[in-house]
Symmetry: C2
Subunit: 232 residues, 2 copies
């Protein structure tokens, strides 16, 4: 397992434009690692010893309030860099990262960060882009929380999930990691009860199909409809 194949990186954004040599160089510095479902990858406030590339799986970014409540800030789909504290001027991680399901990651020591930025053309631009889209997503969610009702927020959260990490099946699009009602409620600032009621209603209407730790969206368009005519 020492020798990682170059094809791992040829199609992921920060590296996709690089020469074979450069990719080889980056890979030789990387440590691969597997995380079990629900295992913690790093914790808020911890010294940022590594930065990561998610090769396979989904990562859940969680923050805990002083009162002990959890909220899920973000899900990271495979193929993205994460834990890049250096890129946002920090030396510690800003939140917890947990494996939403079994994950395969590459890790690099943070001290290599500056070198990567200078050594690999496009690396920095790619990172800026990632940071920008995270900022954009947070802003969108801020607006949702401030202006939308629970029903719409849950619908939007589901749509985002299937867009980012959806797996298409003959029946519809399925969230491809185990997700509970509680998880959804922590993404949308509501309670598992309310989410459960919504899912039941949507299932009756044939919009979703869900079970234990599993959600499949049959009719994304009808969820979108919910979000648009929010006034009425």
């Amino acid at each position: 397992m020492k020798y990682l194949d170059e094809s791992l990186l040829t199609h992921v954004p920060p590296f996709d434009g690089l020469s074979r040599r450069d990719i080889r160089e980056a890979l030789d510095l990387a440590v691969p690692r597997r995380f079990e479902a629900d295992e913690t990858i790093f914790a808020e406030g911890e010294e940022a010893a590594h930065f990561f590339l998610l090769l396979d799986g989904t990562v859940r970014v969680v923050r805990t309030t002083p009162q002990g409540e959890q909220i899920i800030a973000l899900h990271i789909p495979s193929g993205q860099l994460f834990g890049f504290a250096r890129a946002i001027g920090r030396t510690t991680y800003p939140a917890n990262a947990e494996a939403a399901r079994e994950c395969l990651v590459l890790m690099w020591p943070t001290r290599l960060w500056d070198g990567f930025c200078e050594r690999f053309p496009g690396f920095r631009a790619s990172i800026s882009h990632t940071v920008g889209s995270r900022l954009g997503e947070m802003q969108d969610r801020l607006i949702e929380l401030a202006t939308q009702r629970v029903e719409q927020r849950v619908a939007l959260a589901l749509l985002r999930l299937i867009e980012q990490t959806g797996r298409t099946t003959p029946e519809g699009i399925e969230v491809d990691f185990p997700i509970t009602r509680q998880d959804l409620s922590e993404m949308t600032g509501t309670t598992l009860h309310t989410v459960s009621r919504l899912m039941s209603a949507w299932q009756r209407d044939g919009i979703v199909e869900s079970g234990r730790r599993r959600i499949m969206v049959r009719a994304p368009d009808r969820l979108e409809a919910f979000c648009e005519n929010s006034g009425t």
Copy 2:
């Protein structure tokens, strides 16, 4: 007004470590400009032609929902760079920026951005830091909206305002730009009615002192107390 004094930049973060020569160079490329209160500095989606440094005043960052509702995403205090679309991998501005009161800014054409990053040591690091703290603030607000009640959110918003842009007076700390109940409601995802009721109650208790477009906090510690014992 052509010749800007170097002391303008010697104490603001992105430039504070630079040599006199470097500062001179940056200043000679800048265009100074004044904006009236409530004037738009740039609009969401617009081509990002410039990046800005706020020399004096306060900038309000606003997003508008498809339904025409506004929410205030952020206030930028003087001494900060803003409108740096390039730093987050965008070519357009991500939100509206308006002068919360009369503002004095320096503007540079965006095409100079990359040059600044390479030319001025510490510039890039300083920007990362700014981006990071904005991300952090948005994450905090996300959590507040998701978990806190209106009363606590408004209290937290006020505390943030006086921390970032407060002016200390013998009577207490005053928000040093005109701010309406409506503005506060757009920052906290509530209605002006609820904010008004809260302000009235707090005024009765001697915690704040407020009037038309004006808010002064007499007892910040009592506001903080509100936020902590949120369970009870």
